[in-house]
Each structure stands twice: as structure tokens, then as C-alpha cells.
């Protein structure tokens, strides 16, 4: 039925508009809009004491890179987070390359005789970075009527908890 409806609509328009069958019309020559990626933001690299607090790879191995900005980067190996941090402790970041790569203080994860390795900022959660910016900010209204929120909270607070009821008498 839908195809019949579409054809019916097409037919009505053709009756009204088509000058003659067989007419050749020129294609639209409007220029295409430019494809452009969003301009990169600038979190991460400039933060002091930047640390990697965990992976975000669905428990898959982390791809590590070797090299540097001057000579180029190359894939080095893949290792699980526990290889880099056996005790699940944060890793200190030695250097950062254009918000993309973080250098860790580890030169043995991919075998000996390699320089310090790099990991993509995409695959790790850092102490200050897009991941923490994405993190949920919690706020709630206290029984005193005041609002309390975690550090990244920006007003206004829309509390997730219901408005506290009037205090009841203690038993």
C-alpha cells in the first residue's frame, strides 16, 4: 500500500508539474558543505601530577607505542593493565604528546632494551582528563536545606534525591 501511495503522490506531482516526459534536467550544482571534525579541546597534558588511574578498554590489552615525537611512533606491544600496574595503583605520566599519547615510567613491558613506552589517552582514565569530565557529578539536597555536591559540580544543582521530608521526632 505504501508503494502505491508514493506512486500516487508522484503521479499527482507529475500531472501538475512535469512539462513533458523525456525532459533532461541539469543536476543541482550547489557546492558540498565542507566536512570538518570538531576542533580538539585542550584537557589533559597541562595538568600537574597527571596520573593514569585505570584502563577503559573493556579489559582488553592496552596497545603501547614506542618512539617519540621527533622520530615518530610505532606500535610496540599489547599488555593488560595488570602488567603495567600489578597492584592496580595509579601510574605516573612522564610526558604527554598532543593530548593523544601519555608516556609511562615503564620501559620493560614490551621486553628489554626499549625506551619508555606510550599509551593512548583514549584507552586510559587519568586523574584529570576527559574521562573525569565525563564522570557523573552527584549532588543532593541535605535535610538542612543546603546542597552538597562532588567537586566537579557546577550550579545549579538538580538533586537526584527527593526533597527531604520534614524531620520526624526521634524515638
Amino acid at each position: 500500500m505504501k508503494i502505491l501511495f508514493h506512486l500516487g503522490v508522484l503521479a499527482v506531482v507529475m500531472i501538475l508539474v512535469l512539462p513533458a516526459p523525456g525532459a533532461v534536467m541539469a543536476p543541482d550544482d550547489a557546492p558540498a558543505p565542507a566536512m570538518a571534525a570538531a576542533a580538539p579541546a585542550t584537557p589533559g597534558c597541562g595538568v600537574a601530577n597527571l596520573r593514569i588511574v585505570g584502563p577503559r578498554t573493556k579489559d582488553r590489552p592496552l596497545p603501547l607505542m614506542s618512539g617519540d615525537g621527533e622520530h615518530g611512533f610505532k606500535p610496540a606491544c599489547r599488555v593488560s593493565w595488570t602488567v603495567l600496574s600489578p597492584n592496580h595503583e595509579p601510574l605516573s605520566v612522564e610526558a604527554c604528546y598532543r593530548d593523544s599519547l601519555l608516556q609511562i615510567a615503564n620501559d620493560t613491558a614490551c621486553g628489554a632494551s626499549r625506551a619508555k613506552l606510550w599509551v593512548s589517552a583514549r584507552w586510559v582514565i587519568t586523574s584529570a582528563g576527559p574521562a573525569t569530565q565525563d564522570a557523573k557529578v552527584v549532588c543532593q539536597q541535605l535535610e538542612t536545606g543546603a546542597y552538597a555536591g562532588t567537586r566537579a559540580l557546577k550550579p545549579p544543582c538538580v538533586p537526584g534525591n527527593p526533597t527531604p521530608a520534614a524531620p520526624t521526632a526521634a524515638h
Binding site: 505504501k2 508503494i3 502505491l4 508514493h6 506512486l7 503522490v9 508522484l10 503521479a11 506531482v13 507529475m14 500531472i15 501538475l16 508539474v17 512535469l18 513533458a20 516526459p21 523525456g22 525532459a23 533532461v24 534536467m25 543536476p27 543541482d28 550547489a30 557546492p31 558540498a32 558543505p33 566536512m35 571534525a37 570538531a38 580538539p40 579541546a41 585542550t42 584537557p43 589533559g44 577503559r56 578498554t57 573493556k58 590489552p61 592496552l62 596497545p63 621527533e70 615518530g72 611512533f73 610505532k74 606500535p75 604528546y97 598532543r98 593530548d99 593523544s100 599519547l101 593512548s120 589517552a121 583514549r122 584507552w123 582514565i125 576527559p130 574521562a131 569530565q133 565525563d134 564522570a135
Partner: protein, 555 residues
């Protein structure tokens, strides 16, 4: 005997012969292109159909499903641009080491397959090439094939390095870890739009494949699609068998942008216009669709969370998009010239060509639409067209015979009656000549200068004509007019039903692209048969002569 008078007694035999004659003429008209004009008309008709109805399920099926009913792998485009290269300290042309890094990063997301739409023909440092082969080898070990664009089979050997070995120390050859695919494009003559996709690229003279004799290089989308089905070899053979080396299948382009692209596109990636509104708004010309139909991720978003920080704390959206998908990696560099023109996009990075072709193979279950000229039996398509036109012509002849000679003398069921003509003539005659001519010239200039007035004027003219008919025509004239209009609409509905069935059958079962649909409709709705009734008149004269010869005992 005039053609119109003969309508009165067009019996069953007359209907058969006259409709057959009309259908034959119509078939010639539909395919008449001594200077190639029919091709352009068909292409344009096809573009219109996709621009208006390309979002419809029956024309462009979604969601994608495999033959077994499960979810089919999704095509995802990853665009490498200057921003992405800068994130790793690289610049155009894309260095081989960058591809190695990208494959290494993509491995985390576990795509179904990766295609690199880059020609790696320039000599690169051995260490970089080896890094690429190792990364591709790692992916292949995990069941993720990597396809590489080549101009000919021999190109892969440029990446071979005797010193390259995998983690176990075994030598790595490019042919072991990379699958060579052709990325040659086809465009339509005249407007250079990429509406068709080649099945394969014939080998150049003297080229051999692995010592097994000459074999064509399969196109990227065809090879990738066939590798996703149960019998890849059979699939490729079925798709390419019997076609000429330059054959290609037609691409159905959807005007609907992929919702994922909302995160970066400046164009609207929301729902498309309803068909009726699209037809009125677009005024017979397909307009630019700014949002690509394939989900697109910029490589910079993969390489840096700063480029797109909204892909989820755990990269959930990234995994949802890429995991299990076919990732087509291509360049988005204006200076590279890797751009295509599609029926809906003036310029689009070339990698979309392969992604859309792959999606076409998926949605049509490995049986994409095929033009007449690339078929094994092209006359079969013409026969089908002829049968459809014959039925439409029979409806036309039947309608004309019912309308009767009296109505035909007045120019058909939709022409003004004698009373209405006389009324309008009197009205114009009472107006001073100078005034009526001046008004005519001004109206012509306005209509020519402001096209938006044309449709409004047409509608106003129809309404005015109806009102005049009601005002001046006699009761008998009105009754006959209403009867004829009812017959006309009835015949039109019947014709549309036939066209709908023909379109559905041809598209679904004969894999015909919609190039002829507007042609069918022009015959059924615009009264194109009327212009060609001379052949019917001629046929009747021949019939009369034969009848006379028989009655006189002649030959």
C-alpha cells in the same frame, strides 16, 4: 477513418492490436537515445526516486539483517585528516607508520574487518612497513582481516621486506596478512556521478596472480561482503559471473544521514522529509544531503579523547559503533583529490563509495541492482518493459473507447468544454486588445522570472477552469464531464496499480534500478500515449485495406 472515431468500436481484437502498437512505440520512445539522452534521463529519474523515497523501507531496506535473520555487520567510515595526523606528529601523505598505529589502536575495538583505502605505493622505511605487517598480522591472528587498496595485485609485493618477522620469528609477507582489493571507481558518462560500483578490476596485460593464471582483482566492497558470507568463493563467482569486465552494479543512495554523525556534522542528520514534502520542497531537483549515510568516526576522535570527549567514560559508544563492524579507513584531505560525486552529495571522501557499495550488497542480500546493459540477457529487461507498457496501453485504449468520440472531439476528458471556451473567449474579446496583450506579457515575464509562481498559477488555473465549467456548462455537459473524469481517474488508478506492481516486481525480483519508473509513470499519468495515437490510426488504415482486399478477393 479517424483515430478518435474508431474508439467507439474498439472491440477485444482492436484493443489487443491497438495497445500492442502503442506499447511498441512507447518502448522505442522510452529507449530512444541516438545521442545518449536516454541515459541522462534515466540517471536523473533514478536520482529523483532516491531523493524522494530513498528513506522508504521498500526502496532502501533497514535495519540490516543477514539472510539468516541475524544482525549484519555495520559499515563504519573512519576518516583520517590533518588533525589526526598531527596528533601523532605526522603529515600528508599519510605515513605507513601511522597506518600501523591506527591498526594497533583499532584492534582494541575488535572490528569485524578493516579496509585501508590508501595506496601504499611509495617506498617507506623498512621498520615502518614491518610495523604495519606485524599489526595487520596480529589482527589476522584474531580473525580480523585487513584489506588494502591496490592498483594491481603486484602492489602488495612493494611492502615485502625480507627482514620482517612476526613475534615468533617467522618471516612476514604482505600477501599473508593483507588482502589486496581494487578501489577503481566507475562514473556515469555525462555527469560523472558515482552511481555504479564495479564488481572487479580486470588484470592488465601480462599480469599474473600467484602463478595460477590470470584472475581479475575483486573490488573492495565485493570482496569484503563475500568474506562475510558462508561461501566466499561461491559468492564472488556468483556476483561476477557472466558480466563484462567493465560491469558494475547500481548503488542505492539513501538521503537519510546516519544518526551517529550528529556529533560532528554541521548538516542536519535528523529524519528526512516525508516523501510528499520532499517532492514539493525539492521541486523536481534532488538537493544536497549534507549528512553522510554511513556512520563516520574521525580518526582524531579515536586517537585522542580531547577530540571527542563524549564517547562514554568506558568508551562505550566507541565500542558500540566499531565492535563487529566493517571499518573503512579513508582520507579526508581536499588536496588529495580523493573525492566522489554522488547523487546526493556534490563531494564526499572516496572511502564512502566502498562503504555504501558494501552496504548495498548487504541490504540486497548479495543481489544488488543491475542495469540492462550489464546483464547477460538485456533483451529480457526490454521484454519486461514492453509487457508493462502493453498493459498500460491497453488501459489507455480501453479508457478512450469508453470516453467516446463525442468527448474526444473536444480534446479529451480534461479539456475545457465548448461552453467554457466560448465564455473565456467572450471575456477576452470584451477586454481592450492593448490591455489584454499587456497583461499577457507581464504575466509571462513574472512566470519566467519567479519560478515559485508557476506552480501556484497552475493550481489557480485549474481551480478557475473548474469554477467556469460549473458556472457555464449545461447540466448534460457537466454530467458527461463528470463521467469522463471518473473514468479518467479510474483508469489512472488502475495504471498506477500496474506501475506499482511492475516497480515492485522489477526492483525486488529482477533487480532493476529505478531508472525507468518515471518513464512508466509518464505514460500512465501524463497521457503520453495520446501523443502517439498516430500509430493506432495507421494500424486501422492498414486493417481497413486488408478488410477491403479480403472482401474483393485480393491478396
Amino acid at each position: 477513418m479517424s483515430a478518435t472515431a474508431a474508439h467507439e468500436h474498439a472491440g477485444g481484437r482492436g484493443l489487443f492490436i491497438e495497445s500492442l502498437l502503442l506499447a511498441s512505440v512507447a518502448l522505442v520512445v522510452l529507449n530512444f537515445h541516438p545521442f545518449g539522452s536516454a541515459h541522462l534521463r534515466r540517471h536523473f529519474s533514478q536520482d529523483l526516486i532516491y531523493a524522494w523515497f530513498g528513506d522508504a523501507e521498500w526502496l532502501h531496506p533497514r535495519p540490516l539483517k543477514t539472510a539468516a535473520g541475524g544482525a549484519a555487520p555495520r559499515a563504519v567510515v573512519m576518516l583520517v585528516d590533518d588533525a589526526a595526523l598531527a596528533l601523532r606528529g605526522a603529515h600528508w601523505p599519510v605515513p605507513v607508520a601511522f597506518h600501523a598505529q591506527l591498526l594497533n589502536e583499532l584492534e582494541v575495538l575488535r572490528p569485524r574487518a578493516v579496509m585501508l583505502d590508501f595506496l601504499l605505493l611509495d617506498r617507506a622505511p623498512s621498520a615502518d612497513v614491518c610495523a604495519l605487517l606485524v599489526a595487520a598480522g596480529q589482527l589476522r591472528t584474531e580473525g580480523i582481516p585487513v584489506y588494502l587498496a591496490v592498483t594491481r595485485q603486484h602492489d602488495l609485493s612493494l611492502l615485502d621486506d625480507s627482514n620482517c618477522a612476526d613475534g615468533a620469528g617467522k618471516p612476514l609477507r604482505a600477501g599473508q596478512v593483507l588482502t589486496a582489493v581494487s578501489v577503481r571507481r566507475q562514473v556515469d558518462e555525462g555527469d560523472f556521478v558515482s552511481r555504479r560500483y564495479p564488481f572487479e578490476q580486470p588484470l592488465e596485460a601480462g599480469e599474473q596472480t600467484g602463478g595460477q593464471g590470470a584472475a581479475a582483482l575483486t573490488s573492495a566492497a565485493v570482496r569484503i561482503y563475500c568474506d562475510t558470507v558462508a561461501a566466499p568463493g561461491q559468492c564472488a563467482a556468483d556476483l561476477t559471473r557472466g558480466h563484462s569486465p567493465d560491469a558494475g552494479f547500481d548503488l542505492a543512495w539513501s538521503p537519510r544521514g546516519d544518526p551517529f554523525n550528529r556529533r560532528w556534522s554541521q548538516a542536519d542528520c535528523g529524519p528526512t522529509l516525508p516523501s510528499l514534502r520532499a517532492m514539493v520542497d525539492r521541486a523536481m531537483l534532488p538537493r544536497e544531503t549534507g549528512c553522510p549515510p554511513i556512520a563516520t568516526l574521525f580518526a582524531s576522535a579515536l586517537l585522542s579523547p580531547a577530540a571527542d570527549s563524549a564517547l562514554g567514560i568506558g568508551n562505550d559508544e566507541l565500542f558500540d559503533l566499531v565492535e563487529g563492524s566493517i571499518v573503512f579507513v579513508g582520507g579526508n584531505f581536499r588536496a588529495s583529490g580523493d573525492l566522489i560525486t554522488t547523487p546526493m552529495h556534490t563531494l564526499l571522501p572516496g572511502v564512502y563509495y566502498h562503504a555504501v557499495a558494501f552496504e548495498n550488497l548487504l541490504i540486497f542480500d548479495g543481489e544488488p541492482k543491475l542495469r540492462e546493459e550489464f546483464r547477460r540477457f538485456p533483451v529480457g529487461v526490454d521484454l519486461y518493459d514492453w509487457l508493462v507498457l502493453w498493459v498500460l496501453a491497453a488501459i489507455f485504449v480501453w479508457r478512450e473507447s469508453w470516453v467516446g468520440a463525442e468527448a474526444m472531439h473536444h480534446g479529451g476528458p480534461l479539456a475545457p468544454s465548448e461552453s467554457a471556451r466560448a465564455f473565456v473567449a467572450r471575456l477576452i474579446a470584451r477586454t481592450p486588445v492593448a490591455l489584454s496583450l499587456t497583461l499577457l506579457v507581464i504575466a509571462s515575464l513574472l512566470l519566467a522570472a519567479y519560478p515559485f509562481l508557476q506552480l501556484a498559477t497552475l493550481v489557480a488555473a485549474i481551480v478557475t477552469a473548474v469554477l467556469i465549467e460549473i458556472r457555464v456548462a449545461s447540466r448534460g455537459e457537466l454530467k458527461m464531464r463528470l463521467r469522463n473524469v471518473a473514468l479518467y481517474l479510474g483508469a489512472l488508478s488502475l495504471s498506477l496499480t500496474v506501475v506499482a506492481f511492475a516497480v515492485w516486481f522489477g526492483y525486488r525480483w529482477m533487480r532493476l534500478p529505478p531508472g525507468d519508473w518515471v518513464g512508466y509513470l509518464s505514460f500512465s499519468t501524463v497521457g503520453f500515449f495520446v501523443a502517439h495515437t498516430a500509430i493506432v490510426d495507421f494500424g486501422r488504415r492498414v486493417g481497413s485495406i486488408r478488410l477491403a482486399n479480403r472482401s474483393t478477393g485480393g491478396p
